[in-house]
């Protein structure tokens, strides 16, 4: 075939039939720009202008505003107690506000753990199958871009939108804390918040990648949305229930001895850590609250007694970080696994149905 290649030399192709087309292209080409950045830019503006963005922005605003409103009431009511409270600024994110004696609301972290997946799924559940249904995928792929530019660009755009939403949300909380509550964040706290934003981004990216996987694997956008939101509902709201169920069967509280109770609790924690939102909650609470020095309940009664005797202390940032390292690794691993699977599936898929 090489000999035929030379016969069909591109230069010769240009010159032959029409003399006015002697130059390779009449249109100037710009400096090569990575294909995925072009796709990302387009997808980003699509997302931001979409109605689903508006809805999600409102949900996120509520997720931040509701806990903040009740916490600020509590903080104002107890000014003396608040002054010796360590790291008050970041406490705004993890304190669980109580509306009254009975009702406890989730914290900002709790809200994010619940609605974060929604944000991720919403920006990716129709990423690929939407293009396919629209008839735009073959056209897009016939442009001079690599095939993975499409999926990378879509993932990048989703991440950018989520990061933007998070930064605006946290910025809003910070502004509220400064102006209405007079809480000035310390440098150390800002660093913890920054790392927590990254953690949240990873957590939501997991769902973004999961949505992307569904959009590659499932032909119809409506079906992939249903599967995605169903999974979210199952893990977030019924996850605890399922864990209790398994726990009750495997390690039942029959004798009521201390060992029995600890075994029961240990298994519960292990099972719960299979749920991404548990990983996120544990990591967030440790990162945002230096008082948290352990994420697991002691496994034996001896350890339990030891833990009881420990003098309460504050963890430095690196200590907190080491404590949650397994959780972070698990979240990153899950995200990478989802994205890699989506990537491979997409690269191997036929362009046509």
């Amino acid at each position: 075939m090489t000999s035929t290649t030379t016969a069909v030399d591109p230069g010769a192709v240009r010159k032959e039939p029409a003399a006015d087309q002697a130059t390779p292209t009449t249109r100037k080409r710009g400096i090569p720009r990575a294909g995925w950045t072009i796709i990302s830019a387009k997808e980003f503006s699509d997302h931001v202008l979409s109605s689903r963005f508006l809805v999600l922005a409102i949900i996120m605003a509520i997720a931040a505003a509701v806990p903040l409103y009740f916490i600020s009431g509590q903080i104002r009511e107890a000014p003396s107690g608040a002054t010796d409270f360590p790291a008050l600024f970041i406490a705004l994110f993890w304190l669980t506000p109580s509306v009254n004696d009975q009702i406890q609301l989730p914290s900002v972290v709790g809200f994010l753990a619940m609605v974060g997946p929604l944000l991720g799924l919403a920006f990716s559940f129709d990423a690929i199958n939407g293009e396919r249904a629209n008839g735009t995928l073959p056209r897009l792929l016939s442009q001079p871009i690599h095939r993975d530019d499409v999926i990378n660009g879509k993932f990048g755009a989703g991440l950018a939108v989520i990061a933007m939403v998070l930064v605006v949300m946290i910025g809003g909380v910070t502004a509220f804390a400064l102006i209405r509550l007079g809480i000035v964040p310390e440098a150390n706290e800002l660093l913890r918040v920054f790392l927590w934003i990254l953690l949240t981004l990873i957590y939501i990216a997991l769902w973004l990648a999961f949505g992307l996987l569904l959009s590659v694997g499932i032909r119809r956008a409506a079906t992939s949305a249903l599967v995605g939101f169903g999974t979210w509902l199952l893990l977030t709201f019924f996850g605890g229930l399922i864990v209790s169920l398994i726990n009750g069967v495997v390690a039942p509280l029959t004798t009521g001895s201390g060992e029995d109770v600890l075994k029961n609790i240990g298994l519960r924690e292990t099972l719960q850590r299979l749920l991404p939102d548990t990983l996120y909650r544990e990591a967030s609470l440790t990162l945002l609250n230096p008082q948290v020095t352990t994420v697991s309940t002691p496994a034996t009664l001896g350890q339990y007694a030891q833990a009881q005797q420990r003098i309460p202390s504050l963890f430095s940032l690196d200590q907190s970080f080491i404590l949650i390292w397994p959780q972070v690794v698990a979240l990153v691993g899950l995200t990478v696994a989802c994205f890699a699977l989506a990537y491979v599936l997409f690269m191997r898929q036929e362009v046509r149905a």
């Binding site: 075939m1 035929t4 290649t5 016969a7 069909v8 030399d9 591109p10 010769a12 192709v13 240009r14 032959e16 039939p17 029409a18 087309q21 292209t25 009449t26 249109r27 100037k28 080409r29 710009g30 400096i31 090569p32 720009r33 294909g35 072009i38 796709i39 387009k42 699509d46 202008l49 629209n134 008839g135 735009t136 073959p138 056209r139 897009l140 792929l141 016939s142 442009q143 001079p144 871009i145 690599h146 036929e350 362009v351 046509r352």
Partner: protein, 368 residues
Amino acid sequence: MSASPGRIASKKRPGRRSDSADRTAASSGGAPVLIKTRGLTKEYDDLVAVDHLDLDIRAGEIFGLLGQNGAGKTTTILMLLGLTEPTDGAARVVGLDPSRGPLEVKRRVGYLPDAVGFYGEMTGRENLRYTAKLNRIEKDVIEGTLDGVLDQVGLTDRADDRVDTYSRGMIQRLGIADALVKDPDVLILDEPTTAIDPLGVSEILDLLRGLVSERGMAILLSSHLLNQVQSVCDRIGIFSAGRLIGMGTMAQLAERFGEGKQLLEVGLDLHADEEKARARSVLSGVTGVTSITDGARPGDPWHLEIERGADPATVRSAVLATVAAEHLPLTSIRAVVPSLEDIYRRAVARPGGSRIESRRHTPGEVPA
């Protein structure tokens, strides 16, 4: 293309067979081969979609790919663009291997997919701008390029409306504009004229002819619409079950797949059975006419088969004279040449070709 394209004015009829042959003769000379395949094969699990395809398409020619659904047309096109890996064989598009250097191939090949789609929430111009960006066309020339291609397909007026307000035909036009944005050397069009109204079709076909003659492009188009393929393509390849069962100009195909019999189509305004019987006996008396098929329903044309070796013009005059002498109510008379549809049906019906559903018989016509 032309100087005043507004809505691509139909200056000339789309090329007829006679000049198609001339063009091919002219273009097959020194023009470079822009699409070349040798033994190109694509197998799926239990199906051979494309079976050892050998194809040469030169600059300055329009090649029509004809075939049923699932005959392998789109698979061939996807392999030419590097969007699907061939199982075996090789392809060269603008001198490059599409599976090795797909980016450069895609930079120089404009592609209109079957059932093309656009982003509905964006305007036509925005959609094209996105394509221009993906082709790394420089910012300062993008708008001029877009104006040009929108003008060529006659969409200037609606360019700034959202695509979800477009009709299917307009989307198809936008698709052609989209393929032209990158100023390609090769244009691959999968069903380019579906859903376009008849007037629009001839505009599009004129546009394609113009691109070929002015830009020296090579155009590969696949279509079900036989009349269009016939009118615009220099050469035609008939695809069946993954194999190219016939390739060449209309004349060559007619020679190869024609039945070898000549027909006269005669329109007679007859209703009563006795009148029909009289016409039949009168016409069968004409020298050179071997058999007569009368119209099934009143108003349907009759077909007279001409004796092998007889001069059709002489027979035609004889028929005319007889009809005039016998006062038969003649409405029309013309010679029937095999249409692409006839050729196509016969080609796929041959051993090795697959069966095709019989459609309405519409013989092509030449002026009597």
